[in-house]
Amino acid sequence: MSFLLQRSDVGEFRRRYRWLVLVVLVAFMVVIGRLVQLQLIEGDVHRAQARRNIVRERYLATTRGVLRDANGRVLAANRPSYTVYVTPSKIDLETTWPKLQKLLELDQDERKKLDERLRRVRAEALAPRKPGEKERRTEQQLLLQYDVDRDVVAWLETHEPAGVEVAPTPVRYYPYGELAAHLLGYMREVDAEALARLEGRGYRAGDRIGAVGVERRWESYLRGQRGMKKILRGLRGNLSRENVEALEAKYLEEPRRIEPVPGRDISLTIDIDLIASIERAMRGQLAGAVTVIDVRTGRILAAFSKPAFDPNVVSGGAGVAAAVDAFKRLISDPLKPLLDKNISAAYPPGSTYKPFTALAGLADGLIDPDYEVDCRGGYEYGRRFFRCTGVHRHVDLHDAIVQSCNTYFYDLGARISIDRLAAIGLDYGFGIKTGIGINPEARGRMPTRAWYTRRYKEAFRGGFTLLSAIGQGASTVSVLQLALAYAAIANGGTLYQPQVVRSIETSDGTIVQEFPPRVRRMVDVDAEHLKLVQKALEGVVKDRRGTANKESLEGIEMAGKTGTAQVTHVAPRGVDPEKVWYFNRDHAWFAGFWPARAPEIAIVVLVEHGGGGGKNAVPVAMRVVRDWIKLREKRLSARATQGSP
């Protein structure tokens, strides 16, 4: 090996070798130190993270409980609905996309808009990776259509085109639409605030929650519990079933699956056929409310508030856009369709309150059945003249109620203290919440001397008591309160707690909990006094001079009281009521019970700004009771045939 002369000396290098070895050792020791940290000290943390990486918890949807009426008719259920999503990066633009456009019957505008979005997302997803960018969300989905036709779902499920996904999204379905909407309620997406409160109870963003009515109040029963399924993430393509199962057995911790618990079904006290009949009877009116309750139990048989809304639409059953649109309209409507006028609103009761004034007078001994007042069209009190509806001449208690004579009650109002009047009202449940539990309750108002002093900051005037005596002035009641109070008159003084829920059942029909009638209290009243009032109320309908007589129907033994409640202080006397601005017109009332002698139901009809109670509210009540009698017979005979086949 002489071709290369050994020209240089390796001696210069000698001293370096030891240093180099040291550098190598130190460098690798640092790396090993890091391994000690990662694998030995933090090993458990990293293993936990590695498991979290591959294990995903999928939720298993539960089904919300069904709402039924007293006769087992479904009032709220769950309708299968399907949403179509497309994955722009995967869909076949040549065949699948045009076919899909046709199937979904997209119009020109939608087609163009969706086409643009789809192509944009697709271009983004399929663009070549930029330097350094190693992974990208290529599977972004677009919502194509909500609540897709069954035929389309069937086609998609048989053909399974790439890049198209059909996701079941059950929708709450209310088969009777607007009927009983306020009482049943509707569903909405849970908002951030509620979510923060409810997260511990298993709510997630995007969940739906009962918004008002029974849906809201009984949410925790209806909702059910979603299940959970653990799955492995990161498995791609067609691994064999056995392989996947083996991996699952290895990596998924027990419990691997928790079955969902369906929500409880709820049977309500209401009769949807009766509500349908109320709806028919109220067709001539713009706005109002009707409550029918069983005087023997306090159960709500019907609650109707007009105008209403379609819970299907506001729950999102016709798409999110339709729901938003509906809310916009509902909120701006001056007739307040979202308001439950049975429970959440209070109105001056007008003459329907007179029986309670009379009971107060009887209780305090200020009047007796024979006490008479000479009505000459009004009552002079202080420097004011309080008008009556007519000139009734000599009226006793019975006549005063039958003919709705104000003068008689002005006379009583002049002698009774307003606080005493309020106290008797309170005893019948006015001015306090009824405890029905659904929807925000209007308390109503039984004004007292203290209230007036607080309110007007001036001396109390006796005239206030006169107005309260005829159910005007500051007195307000809710339709529900009035119905319960009339029920108390009808049933001999029992004030019930109103109920809308009869029982709670599991999804297979086993009764979990029943709700027997609940008495709030026995009203402190003399039975004789009640009889007097009952008889007078019967006269209102039966007596030829009675205010409800003209509109009464043959063969319907009703008792009750009409009311025409003034809305404004400017009494538009002598003016054609039809020409008064709608929102200044009087409210028309009728409150009563049927049958007059052995009462079963109490009914209260309020026609908002309907004018005179006798003319406008009574016909509604009559028709509803007439329908109820037919329904009742049908139910009784059906029960009889069931009993003896």
């Binding site: 694998q39 930029k130 991996l247």
Partner: protein
């Protein structure tokens, strides 16, 4: 003394420790590649990954044969050839820009028929030979000044610039580290050393501002704060550390590492094979592998120390430096000590050019070892 031991050698004798270490690493690499490529994916993807495994075996064979050839020719011939190899290397680096196929935004490969190779990889060997030649011919005894080292700097600068332009930060860093490692064998005047350190200190911020691409900067920033970038580069680094940590003491077992098998490791067979290995075999396996690289690096220094001339010693140091820096940077990045740059784990990572280059380097070590 060592010199008289050398003189008694009858002829070339095979360096067994070197061969054993190399063969063990290559074998472990193949075993690990099998695990890395058998992730839970569908059949089509699996077929593609099987191709990866088979082609790696081809490359090991090719590299092994080349290593034998390289070992057989007396290394001093390479000193003469170095100039030509260097010119050829620069030429092929230039060709990359004309013929290069663009992979992930940087052109590093030249395709010839079915094969694609990376000139920048082979340039590492050429660079070692070229700098070794410079060191060999530099017979000064006084400490070197910058002026003295200028030719060596020029030798590195040309390929370094070409590789930076591709852009390939990892390889360009390796070039510098190899050159510095070999040159560090010389005495350098203290003032010159300080000047160089100062120059680097100035150059780094300038390079940050004007030379590095955004994605390269992103790697560094996400290394400094991986939590800030959970889906990009920082995510890769975190997943790699999770994989290694998941290995714990004895590992999840062969082909059982979930981070790898469920597809949470990015580029698991080229950039992060260590993570796959450490997840499957745990701390024990990781330390073994690191020990093998430490042994290989130290053994190269040992071979250098016994070389009979400066060229041989410098070549051995160069190859040792190549293996050392590659393995240190790759593992350092896998364990999260260093930012993610595409540097392979020698003899272990998937990649024809990388494995052939390293095996040729082993051949050179063998060459020097046999001819001491």
């Amino acid at each position: 003394m060592r010199t008289d031991r050398v003189s008694f050698r009858a002829g070339p004798s095979v360096d067994m420790p070197l061969i054993v270490a190399a063969v063990v690493i290559v074998t472990l690499g193949l075993v690990n590649l099998y695990s890395a490529t058998s992730v839970y994916v569908d059949s089509a993807q699996r077929a593609r990954l099987a191709d990866v495994y088979v082609s790696q075996i081809y490359w090991v064979v090719v590299g092994g044969l080349l290593a034998i050839v390289v070992a057989a020719i007396d290394y001093r011939h390479f000193e003469r050839l170095a100039n030509f190899l260097y010119l050829g290397g620069l030429l092929s680096l230039g060709l990359v820009f004309i013929l290069g196929s663009d992979i992930r935004g940087s052109s590093r490969w030249i395709e010839i028929g079915r094969f694609a190779f990376q000139p920048s990889e082979f340039m590492k060997i050429v660079l070692i030979l070229m700098i070794a030649r410079f060191v060999h011919n530099d017979t000064r005894t006084e400490p070197r000044t910058i002026g003295h080292l200028l030719p060596a700097i020029a030798i590195v600068a040309a390929p370094w610039a070409a590789v930076m332009a591709q852009p390939d930060l990892g390889t360009s860093v390796i070039y510098l580290l190899i050159a510095v490692s070999i040159l560090s064998m010389n005495k350098v005047r203290r003032r010159s050393l300080l000047t160089m350190v100062a120059t680097v200190a100035v150059a780094v911020p300038l390079a940050w501002k004007y030379v590095l691409r955004d994605y390269q900067k992103a790697r560094v920033t996400s290394f400094l704060d991986p939590e800030a970038d959970k889906t990009g580069t920082g995510w890769h680094a975190l997943q790699s550390q999770t994989a290694i940590g998941n290995g714990q003491l004895f590992g999840e077992g062969f082909m059982q590492g979930t981070q790898n098998q469920f597809g949470f490791l990015p580029d698991q067979y080229s950039d992060f094979p260590f993570s796959v290995f450490a997840e499957d075999w745990g701390f024990v396996g990781g330390v073994c592998l690191i020990s093998l690289y430490a042994f290989l690096s130290i053994w190269a220094i040992h071979i250098a120390s016994e070389a009979k001339d400066r060229f041989g010693a410098a070549v051995a140091i160069g190859v040792g430096a190549m293996i050392f820096w590659h393995s240190l940077l790759n593992i350092g990045m896998a364990v999260g000590l260093l930012p993610v740059v595409g540097i392979t784990l020698p003899l272990f990572s998937y990649g024809g050019s990388s494995i052939v280059t390293t095996l040729v380097g082993i051949g050179l070590l063998m060459n020097v070892s046999m001819r001491r």
